[in-house]
Symmetry: C2
Subunit: 925 residues, 2 copies
């Protein structure tokens, strides 16, 4: 095996590395190398690779073989390029030693500046620059940094000595300390060092300083804060940090020097203006430290016109080169500009869209590139209100009282209420409320809708609360286990804090945090570029995007978000809207026979018909998939004595009888119980009522001139015959109604595929179903044997890299492509084997998650359906999937063109060119 | 289309039909035809086919076209064969008209005898036989039968007239009525007929009588009682009944005539003796009616030696011909023997084995044929006690108070108790008890074991109660929904009956019936032939048969039943055995951290180690698969205040804290919750304790000289990495212990495949698992999305042919081969694709169900595992599977030999013969 190169040089006009080598050189090292390559002014230096760091840990914190020799060799090269030598008492080379992983981990790792100074070289520097104050300031900074960062001494004592010095000298700021004072400080610092290092003197040998600093940077990779950061940010693909050793340039050599950080465009608005801060006569850390107030970059044009012009050129060059907005660091040393860093700049969601769209207009990038650059989070953050970002961190952390699972992003503030009824009542009075529940049930839907946000003590991202709230884009935090709620006393206790009904709290649904009090919120505005870019997405995507919506209101909202139809209309949510509806469904449930059930269902019919008509009107011309009743009946039973009493009054049954009937409905595992189409198999009258409501509503709309495309969907199918029975029952009802009305109305009948058996036997089922809609929520639960309501206790172990780390993603958030995905793929292929034109979609929560949407594209679905607020994410992901297809196609073509593979029967591309040859042979015979 | 033949003749030495045409001619018609063919004495006649009956109903109760002509034509043929004519006033032909479907439906359908008699022919018959009494008796019987059966008059009035006649004449029995009395009765009957038929006279035209009788037989096919019978017996493959019109022969023509029914061997013991009853001077119906006591067949040798010898010849001929024990009907008319019916004889389970084994010894059949003839029910009925079959029907139906689901066959009687503790206490005092519960939980296991039988109000055939009871072969009735149990008052109410603790009840687990009082039971004895036949099964089967057993007692029992190892030892059942164990597991559950959990687990370790050692000793030399803890922890929590108090005392925790912790364990869908290996992922110390107990027990046994083959099985796996983590943890513990002990001990680590994802990704999982055991109980629940605890509400609709009839079998009883089976097949194939020698078994309830066992054989499993009492069924089914394989192989060979199919790439058999030809070609080149 060839020896790995562990050190890469850059300087002058050449660099051994390049911008594409981030995984080897880290982000900073790659950026520096690339800037050198394209001719930008960069101080010379070299980068020790990420591999070296990885090996350092692999070999028990020892430098890998050969690294030291390579460093020395490259140091010599650097000395030659700089025209200075490390440790030269006359004119010493000074270097910075900086960390730099492949991805930015801001503030997590260490930097040491001014390395090369010692008692001798500091004097040389003072002489050479004619600025002893500068030299001793650099030296005292180096001693501080090296002692704490490389040698582990604590920071406070030296900060204290610095403060004491200022007190002694009667000055207020560091720059006021004269050279002598700094010199004295250097002595004190060295004495402190020696005292705390068993009498060892502060290292004077620059090489010793260098090795110590490299070790310090390597060491910072595994420091607690960095490890925690990577865990929190779910960064698992990094192997270590590179180390960049770069010749020091100084922005603090007087008024012709300075230092700054800038973005090539405004990272907040995205506007194409040069944006940044700088300080005259300062080192980089001063900009960050915030002791002096930095100036706007526009000032620089006046103060240092030459350097500024040069910087503007750099800006242009870099944007053209990277075709991306860049985040830059620079230093001007006595009029001369040096670039110290460049990387892709972070930006606000609005800026993300504006920059992408602008760059297309400017001809810098293609539409495909623009689309590829948008992340799903960019869209989410564009829509949801946030806690005002100007609020200071301290206030935030003081007010934070608990954390839960971040179910629906956005922020919300309001008074705490503990029941849905109170939420509705207070909201009706114009109050903002947060509904706090142990868990929510379908009966709470009214109150949930009335509330600003929802907080529950239990449940995960696909619990009832989360799913319903997501449908409305309503801020929701679930599984907040610290909550101890007492409905009786209308109190909740969190640790030592007690919060009573009416107290204000604020939720951050993006982070999953709960704050006491009413924090200021900010609602972002939708930039015009958003519409432009989404329009491009719509042009290129192949997947249709529908929405899950149960009301005309949701439907209209979803159309505004770009929905092209309804993929899932849950009819049972309609049963909770008013007391009359609730009572009717309850009456149906307690009925003893089909006749009484029919009587109760007849009361529900007009409600459902009106709902459907409203939805059809809202979706005029767009398909509407309506799912027949799905949840087990016990979800609808009265939950308290008053409810039982009311039902007893209406039905004339005894309260005891009603309670008994409700108890009978209890199930050990309701997820696997009497629900979905099983209800229609045992109670066909439910199907009859629902189909009647759908078709009558459709007929009414057709008469009004609305274009209606109803798709009746039967849930929880497991067998062809089961579906055939219900399909026949559906058509029997529908066809009679249509014939009687004498209108032209066509409808489809299809099924959910949400139980493994349905996917396995999809070829048989497709003989009866005109369409499939994969219900991947339930399919995930059953394929993995995982109840989403209960998984909170152990799924975190499965997803957490630090624990078992079995799954990369929570399978309820991002489709388990290898397991559930195999069933989906099989289901589609089998289904289309018996019905070529089978329409296939997905209506689980995954339909709005980018990775899952791309999967749906790849397996050939016709559409995805998701909650209205996720429609734009799906549109984006669907477009990105097409682009990724093309890229993959090109890549594999390129690959197969290169590869001189043996001819295989299956290799189409290979087999084809042979045909003529064979024919020729035949001809010869 | 060629016209269907609707009528088949038999008589003399020829028959148009044959014994193999049961579906066309019905059982009786086929039997008659076959007997004619092999030269036995049968009166001539003809059979109207089942198809004709089917068409009759298809065409709205009209005879199919051509049938009448065919009947007339065959009647003429019969008249010729008989030498008599229907309606001939001098010497009339008389016929019987009998039903006969393809399968016997005893007593369900109609028969009319003596057809052809009218006011004229009766005189001819009287003159011809010189026996007017005989003639008028025949005539009055015919009028009765025709009037009631064909014409729908009620039976009572004519029976009453008969009784009045006897009163008037001062005689007691029918035979005492003289000719004149019978003649008078005929007149009265005809008058009664006319009066009830709007003045129509009783039909005198024999053809009219014939058509009426045929219609009557066709009509009886759809009579309520026949329809109900078919539904109850799950007969769904019959299309109708045939009609047999046969010349009458008379056993009541004096002392040289007689009639009888017999079996070619003793149907109770199976002994090879001629067995039956007969009556001198009687018609067939007299034997059945039971007015006269029939004689043993052995008497006949003395009374009618010639006919008897002839009958013995017939017996021999038929057994040789059919190679089966036959059930015969015969009539002797004036010394001449006529065979009226022959069919395969019903027999007791013991006789089934004896006859099969004897026939092999006699060279009549092969061992394979003998094995194929045994049904799984034959074995079950051989082992379980039954309610004494001598008990009269009336008593039974009077005592029956409820019906439930027949979970475990057999019968049991005892005092009712409502708690497991009371069951244990009373059983300890030597009392027989029946444990009655709403449902059972693992805590009830002690009481269940102590009870004679178990009765629950809820649950299905795979509920906890059913599964546990089946393991012990203990009578169990579940899902008896009529029960209204009040644990507080120790009462249960069934309809209007109240049963209190201490009252006796009797259960029939085979039928699912519950009786009040203590009914007499009978325990069948195991015949020697059982062991012989099971030995043959063991010789030819390829599948190994293991057992599911959790205790040394069960293990020993299973070995006696023929188990070759343990396929599933459920370790958690051991946690309930004593209070000390229960408390230790509860202490583990309420522990707040790993240290306290370990402390509690340490208390369980010695118990588990002793249990495992006991099992290893019992299974010396046989493999033992031990499954790590499977159920969710809440199954172990204390269920009452006393339990909580006790646990509080031991742990020093507050009762409130314990209750809170137990509440926290509540799950919405425990089946899909925190259980199985998920417990060991979150609490690795559980796995450590269990593996320690297994391996320490194994080491101890090895030192004692016991041969130990432990297989450690990890349940509920869904991912390769998940299994890899636990496999590593297992080996880490085990290998250290083995190395420390310095013994030679090898063990295997494998997994359950019981979640769809595990089957889908079996190739990956097999990289880590040394064996797979398909847990088809859970796999069925998840693949079908069907909770076995809740399915009682709707699954009956799915299985019941009269309702939706979606499934042929309950998927929890017989493996759903098309759905779950597809996953099993896929799992095996994928698993063996990465690990060729993967050992594969099944340990769900299906492992003891014959059809499922055969499926396991076909998909190439290594073994099945089932409860001890089902081991013999599995052994039988495994042998039958091999035989069926051979038969199918022969059939397909024969088929492919016949078929001149086009050559296909995949058709091996076709491709092979071509090889030499190709070689020849090559040679020529």
């Amino acid at each position: 095996m060839a020896k790995k190169k562990l050190v890469y040089f850059f300087g002058g006009n050449t660099a051994e590395g390049s911008g594409s080598m981030k995984t080897i050189l880290g982000g900073k090292g790659a950026g520096l190398a690339e800037m050198v390559k394209i001719g930008l002014p960069v101080p010379a230096g070299f980068t020790i690779t990420v591999d070296a760091c990885e090996d350092y840990y692999r070999f028990g914190k020892k430098f890998p073989a050969g690294m030291e020799a390579e460093v020395k060799q490259h140091l010599a090269r650097l000395e030659k390029a700089a025209g200075k030598k490390l440790g030269d008492a006359k004119d010493p080379l000074l270097v910075s030693v900086r960390s730099g992983a492949a991805r930015s981990m801001p503030g997590m790792m260490e930097t040491i500046l001014n390395l090369g100074l010692n008692d001798a070289t500091v004097e040389g520097l003072a002489a050479k620059t004619g600025n002893p104050r500068f030299a001793y300031d650099a030296y005292r900074r180096f001693i501080q940094m090296y002692s704490t960062t490389a040698m582990g001494l604590s920071k406070e004592p030296m900060e204290h000595m610095l403060a004491e010095m200022k007190k002694k000298l009667g000055v207020k700021t560091d720059p006021e300390i004269p050279a002598e004072g700094l010199k004295e400080l250097c002595r004190e610092f060295k004495a402190f060092y020696s005292k705390n290092k068993n009498g060892q003197a502060f290292p004077q040998d620059p090489m010793e300083q260098l090795w110590g600093s490299i070790k310090a940077v390597f060491g910072s990779w595994m420091a607690d804060k960095a490890v925690t950061y990577r865990r929190v940010e779910k960064i698992s693909d990094l192997k270590g940090t590179a180390v960049n050793i770069v010749q020091m340039v100084f922005g603090n050599l007087g008024d012709s020097s300075g230092t700054g950080v800038c973005f090539t465009r405004d990272p907040n608005s995205g506007q194409n203006v040069f944006y940044g801060d700088y300080l005259i006569n300062a080192q980089g850390e001063d900009v960050v430290a915030g002791i002096r107030t930095p100036l706007k970059l526009s000032e620089m044009e006046r103060q240092m016109p030459a350097a500024y012009r040069q910087l503007c050129e750099v800006r242009k060059t870099l944007e053209k080169h990277y075709q991306e907005m860049q985040d830059l660091e620079f230093t001007v040393q006595e009029q001369k500009l040096y670039m110290l860093q460049c990387r892709t700049g972070k930006r606000s969601p609005a800026a993300t869209f504006r920059i992408a769209v602008d760059m297309v207009k400017e001809g810098l990038i293609t539409k495909e590139q623009a689309i590829s650059r948008i992340a799903p989070e960019d869209i989410e953050r564009l829509f949801y209100p946030v806690i005002d970002p100007k609020l200071d961190r301290k206030t935030l952390s003081d007010k934070k009282i608990a954390s839960g699972i971040n179910a629906v992003p956005g922020a919300a503030a309001g008074e705490v209420v503990f029941t849905a009824a109170e939420a509705e009542a207070l909201a009706a009075k114009g109050k903002k409320v947060i509904l706090v529940r142990k868990e929510t049930s379908p009966e709470d839907v009214g109150g949930m809708h009335a509330a600003q946000g929802i907080l529950t003590a239990t449940g995960g991202k696909t619990s009832h609360a989360a799913v319903v709230a997501r449908g409305w884009g309503k801020c929701c935090v679930v599984g907040c286990e610290a909550l101890d709620i007492n409905y009786g006393t209308k109190l909740m206790v969190i640790g030592s804090k007690t919060i009573k009904q009416g107290d204000f709290i604020t939720l951050d649904g993006s982070a999953g945090d709960v704050f006491i009090g009413e924090l200021p919120l900010k609602k972002p505005e939708l930039p015009e570029s958003y519409n432009v870019l989404m329009g491009w997405c719509d042009q290129i995507r192949r997947l249709r995007v529908r929405t899950n919506a149960d009301t005309p209101y949701d439907s209209e909202n979803a159309v505004r978000m770009g929905a092209e139809g309804i993929g899932l209309c849950r009819t049972e949510h309609m049963f909770f809207d008013t007391e009359a509806r609730r009572l009717a469904i309850q009456e149906m449930i307690v009925a003893d026979d089909a006749a009484n059930r029919k009587k109760a269902l007849a009361k529900l019919l007009p409600f459902q018909r009106d709902d459907f008509a409203g939805i059809f009107r809202a979706m005029n011309g767009k398909p509407v998939t309506i799912r027949l009743i799905d949840p087990p009946l016990h979800e609808f039973t009265p939950k308290d004595d008053a409810g039982v009493a009311k039902l007893a009054q209406i039905t004339g049954l005894s309260a005891e009888h009603i309670r008994h009937r409700c108890e009978q409905l209890h199930e050990a595992n309701p997820m696997l119980g009497h629900r979905g189409c099983r209800l229609c198999i045992t109670y066909p009258e439910i199907l009859e009522m629902q189909v009647t409501a759908i078709i009558e509503a459709a007929i009414q709309c057709v008469k009004e001139g609305v274009k209606v495309l109803p798709e009746i969907m039967i849930p929880l199918t497991i067998d062809r015959k089961e579906l055939a029975i219900l399909e026949l029952a559906t058509r029997k009802v529908a066809d009679v109604l249509i014939a009687r009305a004498g209108v032209k109305l066509s409808y489809m009948v299809g099924t959910m595929i949400e139980i493994p058996r349905a996917a396995l036997l999809a070829d048989q089922i497709a003989e009866v179903a005109e369409f499939f809609s994969f219900g991947t929520n339930d399919l995930t639960q059953m394929t993995l044997g995982l109840s989403r309501d209960d998984a909170g206790r152990f799924l975190p172990f499965y997803v957490d890299e630090k624990k078992a780390g079995i799954f990369r993603d929570d399978p309820f958030q991002s489709l388990d492509q290898s397991g559930v995905g195999m069933l989906v793929k099989m289901g589609i292929e089998k289904g289309r084997s018996t019905r070529k034109d089978l329409k296939v979609g997905i209506c689980g929560e995954h339909g709005g998650e980018a990775k899952s949407v791309k999967f749906c594209h790849r397996v050939g679905m016709n559409y995805v359906s998701c909650s209205p607020y996720r429609v734009p994410i799906a549109r984006l992901a669907a477009a990105q999937a097409v682009i990724e297809d093309k890229t993959a196609g090109k890549a594999s073509k390129a690959k197969s063109a290169k590869k001189a593979a043996k001819p295989k029967v299956k290799a189409k591309a290979k087999a084809k060119p042979k045909k003529p040859a064979r024919k020729a042979k035949k001809g010869k015979k």
